[in-house]
Subunit: 329 residues, 2 copies
DNA sequence: AGGCAGTGCCGAATCGTTCCGTCAACGGCG
DNA sequence: CGCCGTTGACGGAACGATTCGGCACTGCCT
């Protein structure tokens, strides 16, 4: 059922049929009408692929995660995706979750008008390929250093982290430590830099350790926290990056006979549902993933539709949820 | 950067270039090599749209929800989607969340090889359009009566519901009631039929009420439950369909001075995170959305790749999580 | 030498649209 | 009557790949 068939049925040429249905071109109302009726009658539906080939437009945007399958199990990415849908839906864009099976590197360019890269990671080859593809790209969260970049929408982790540090300092903490991802994640870099700057400003000795971005293995996190306390037994404030790490850290603090929320303050850079129900509950940064997703999609679509001109990086506020682990009652 | 350019650079024809890169055709190793190098050098990436137009294959499947934006906020659909990704990812298929902005009905056929319809609803025009499109379709959950259908993967709600009813009956319940969605959802129809059959088998008087599929307004559910108890004050077992409805029902039971889990047993046909923390916690059916998503994707991809031939409906087991509301200690 | 089987590469058609240039018909006007 | 502007519709060239039949050439066998 192609345009050709409709044209034949309406006894006009392909081009006339096309223009009739598109509402463009010059023709009598009667002609247009008869084409529309023929299309209706035959149940004609335009072939989106052919149309896209001709026009170069897809009305779809892509979403790329480092290994989507696993990532998608995390509440953060689900929320992020929901935020993206909040915008693509009313704008009538499809959202394509780009496959990222690392064993089958995709050669061809995705069938989308632009791509959102959620949390770009330095060694993600697919992300590099996308960035090098001339497709419009918007990133959710900062690029790690040395990665080719694009406009970025990120949460204001720095301000939020400082709020936590200030708060803990106000409660008497003077031996802070940070466990955060290494330099392959822009987020880790920012956390570390912010932490170190803050320590320098206060003249405090800051300890840092490096975790693996996206690591959900509690054992690894426990080991990391234990090693940190072994080396720096006087630590009285520990900031970790992920929910899993926070829960692991809680266990380690307890095992050492210390009292979380009292003589060791604990905080997490990424809020999660479990942090509210631990004992004590754990202070965390709400990164506003849904808002972030929304802003990414908004920026990308504005870019594609040529609305506004800005295309500058955007910072969305993040909020600290203070809980018992930093002394809140 | 098209195949043409590569061909020119390698001093061969378009067709030879195409075949060289695809690994097909007959040519000397040297020729093939030089094409590959030219492609490499020029940074050539095949245009997926052109390729799809020619071959008719997209290597992408679509996912349709009734109004994706909202739906996607629900844990059920997120889990379902994660399950779909579990399969599409390793198979290297993209997953397109089909836009379903109801105000801009899509004319064109989606750029996908097949579609999964999650929870088909009778009055969903887009679902009808998809089914009528000759694209391979797999549905997650039963079709409502009167809807054109396709292979279906569904959870075994009937067995699970019967398990709940039997269990409650064993605890002495003799006045059962069911509040479930009406005939526009296959799920609602199944629940109602199962309930009525069970009541008939036991010779018990069963009361039923109709809720709106996907309704997340607590007020509506409260009203429904209150009306039910007003009409049938002796009800000693209430089964509702959704998390929101269950929590609303709990309130209603309490307001009437009855004791949920003791003199009124309560159960829900769809488990959710909050049902575990209510007081008393509420017995519910775990519909295994992730498994369901996986099975849908598996079936669709098998269909597309021509593997196996079955394409028969599939039933995945659902499990009842017995909690305090049905008398579990 | 002539025939025949292989080999290596190319030309051209095709997928279904969109869009621009062209053209015949027609009516109005000087 | 001849010219011109307008109208309505059409033809054909893209868009960028895939695919297959065919053609020239080589080398071997008889």
């Amino acid at each position: 059922m192609t345009l050709q068939d409709v044209a034949k049925a309406a006894k006009v040429s392909r081009s006339t049929a096309s223009e009739a249905l598109a509402g463009t071109g010059r023709m009598t109302a009667a002609t247009r009408q008869s084409v529309v009726e023929a299309a209706q009658r035959l149940g004609y539906r335009p072939n989106a692929v052919a149309r896209s080939l001709r026009t170069g437009r897809m009305r779809a945007i892509g979403l790329h995660y480092l290994s989507s399958g696993d990532r998608f199990a995390s509440p953060y990415f689900r929320e992020f995706t929901t935020g993206v849908l909040d915008v693509t839906q009313p704008e009538d864009y499809d959202l394509t979750l780009l496959s990222s099976n690392p064993e089958v590197p995709r050669q061809a360019l995705p069938r989308v008008d632009g791509v959102i890269i959620a949390d770009p990671i330095a060694d993600d080859l697919r992300a590099h390929a996308l960035i090098g593809s001339a497709l419009p790209i918007v990133a959710g969260e900062l690029y790690p250093p040395g990665m080719p970049s694009s406009p970025v929408v990120s949460a204001d982790h720095a301000t939020a982290l400082r709020a936590i540090l200030d708060h803990a300092h106000g409660h008497g903490a003077t031996r802070p430590a940070l466990i955060a991802p290494g330099p392959n994640s822009g987020w880790g870099v920012l956390l570390r830099r912010t932490f170190e700057e803050w320590c320098a400003e206060r003249g405090l000795p800051g300890t840092t350790r490096e975790s693996r971005f996206g690591d959900t293995d509690p054992v690894a996190h426990t080991r990391l926290a234990a090693a940190l306390f072994a080396a720096e037994p006087d630590t009285d404030l520990l900031v970790v990056s992920s929910e899993v790490a926070a829960i692991a850290a809680l266990g380690v603090v307890r095992d050492r006979g210390r009292h979380p929320g009292v003589d060791v303050l604990l905080a997490c850079c990424a809020d999660g549902p479990r942090l509210d129900v631990t004992e004590p509950s754990i202070t965390a940064i709400d990164m506003r993933p849904r808002t972030l997703g929304r802003e990414c999609a908004r920026m990308l679509i504005d870019l594609l539709e040529g609305r506004g001109a800005p295309q500058e990086d955007k910072l969305v506020p993040a909020e600290v949820v203070f809980r018992a682990s930093t002394g809140a009652r």
